[in-house]
């Protein structure tokens, strides 16, 4: 029958819309399309096809924000700021303030090669991130958001400068990673960036504890500068990075599974994007690590795509009045 053929073809076109939308609206749209069809029509008209494809694309582009991603950002936002603040502190101390970088590599003669710190003109860019992190840890959510806005603005400006001029600025990926984390933080729902008290305490004490252990282990009789050259703390980047990424990823995943909510599950791919970029851009990492980072991000994005297709698009229909 031509009617069922036409219906099947309309349904095929409606696949341009997300699954959740189709579940909610598909039957209604098919009914409207068939009501508009001419007698004996077997194929959708080209203008109809274009209209449905454009409608589906528009729906996919604008739809996720109101619910799933917004909810995910409420979790991802503060965590993104915490990560940006930690990275800014790390880069300021180890790439700008100290004479050499903390990580080097072993050459073919098993000599440990120490890399000098770049000492760029971009060090002031890290300060707003650190201030924003401090505001977050002190529970000053609105101030944290304002400082994040300032930091993102400065970072995007620096990104343009770093790409287009010969100014001695940190590499492009540094600006890109910080700006992406900052945009995630700014995307969290209005009213400031907040972390629960226990999370704030953990963010202060865990890195503090790690730094303390590191300093004890480093055994640096001659102070900061001396330990960089022959202290036992020195490490090949790959030996440090992989455990850090595994621990960080496992912590985030454990948090997501513990909370088992779409907010947390949506937050993971949002945070994974800048982290994957950081891993891909870092020196000294093998192709397998980079590929694994990108693959993990893509898998989490696919999960996000699946999640965003499942929500109610419009308010439920009004219940009829009793007896009416």
């Amino acid at each position: 029958m031509s009617g069922s053929e036409l219906e099947r073809r309309y349904r095929r076109l409606l696949r341009a819309y997300p699954a959740g939308y189709r579940a909610d609206r598909g039957e209604e749209m098919v009914g409207t399309l068939l009501a508009l069809a001419r007698p004996g029509q077997r194929w959708p008209r080209p203008a109809e096809a274009v209209d449905l494809l454009a409608g589906g694309l528009g729906c996919r582009v604008r739809a996720p924000m109101p619910n799933t991603i917004r909810a995910g950002l409420s979790v991802a936002g503060p965590l993104a700021l915490a990560l940006a603040g930690a990275l800014a502190t790390f880069w300021l101390v180890f790439y700008e303030a100290l004479p050499v970088r903390p990580f080097g590599y072993l050459d073919e003669y098993e000599h440990f090669i120490v890399l000098p710190s770049p000492h760029t003109a971009g060090w002031p860019l890290y300060l707003p991130w650190i201030a924003a992190l401090a505001a977050l840890l002190l529970g000053l959510g609105r101030l944290a958001r304002a400082l994040t806005g300032l930091a993102v603005f400065a970072q995007l400006g620096a990104l343009i400068l770093a790409a287009g001029t010969a100014l001695p600025l940190p590499p492009v990926y540094v600006h890109a990673v910080l700006a992406l984390f900052g945009l995630l933080a700014l995307g969290s729902p209005a009213g400031g960036l907040h972390l629960p008290g226990r999370a704030r305490l953990a963010l202060v004490f865990v890195p503090g504890l790690l730094l303390g252990l590191f300093l004890l282990w480093a055994d640096n009789p001659d102070g900061w500068v001396a330990i960089r050259y022959d202290g036992p703390w020195r490490a090949d980047l790959t030996q440090i990075y992989q455990p850090v990424v595994v621990v960080l990823g496992a912590t985030l995943l454990a948090l997501a599974l513990r909370h088992a909510s779409s907010r947390w599950l949506t937050a993971m791919p949002l945070l994974a994007g800048p982290l994957a970029l950081l891993i891909c851009a870092s020196e000294g990492l093998g192709p397998a690590t980079r590929a694994a980072a990108v693959a993990a991000w893509l898998v989490s994005l696919a999960a996000l795509w699946w999640l965003t297709g499942r929500y109610t698009w419009l308010p439920e229909p009004r219940q009829p009045a009793p007896g009416g």
């Binding site: 098919v30 009914g31 409207t32 399309l33 209209d51 409608g55 589906g56 528009g58 419009l314």
Partner: protein, 107 residues
């Protein structure tokens, strides 16, 4: 407010309508000039519902096909009235200027 949105809201002003009925009414209101297609119509309804100007009303099944009705909300009716007043004021202003032009041409 764009013309299709204005006409969709105008079509809903008299009472709830389903998608097919809305397309027919918009065509009639525009004198056949504007024929909405379903992708455009439902995109506009989503946007209007998101702004609280339109809401779902009721559903019925006719010949095995789902029909969902939409209605104008109170804020939607206020927005439509405001826009209609603005259009009327603009039309009045345009006609007044055209009368001046006509007088100048005839004297």
């Amino acid at each position: 407010m764009q013309e299709p949105t204005f006409l969709i809201m105008t079509a809903l002003a008299a009472g709830p309508q389903h998608g097919y009925g809305l397309i027919q009414q918009v065509a009639e209101l525009s004198g056949g000039r504007l024929r909405l297609r379903p992708g455009t119509l439902y995109g506009a309804l989503d946007r209007l519902a998101g702004e609280g100007l339109v809401a779902r009303d009721r559903e019925e099944v006719i010949d095995g096909r789902l029909r969902r009705y939409y209605r104008l909300t109170d804020p939607g009716a206020d927005a439509l009235a405001t826009h209609a007043r603005r259009l009327r004021a603009n039309a009045d202003a345009a006609e007044a200027r055209l009368r001046i032009r006509l007088r100048a041409a005839t004297t």
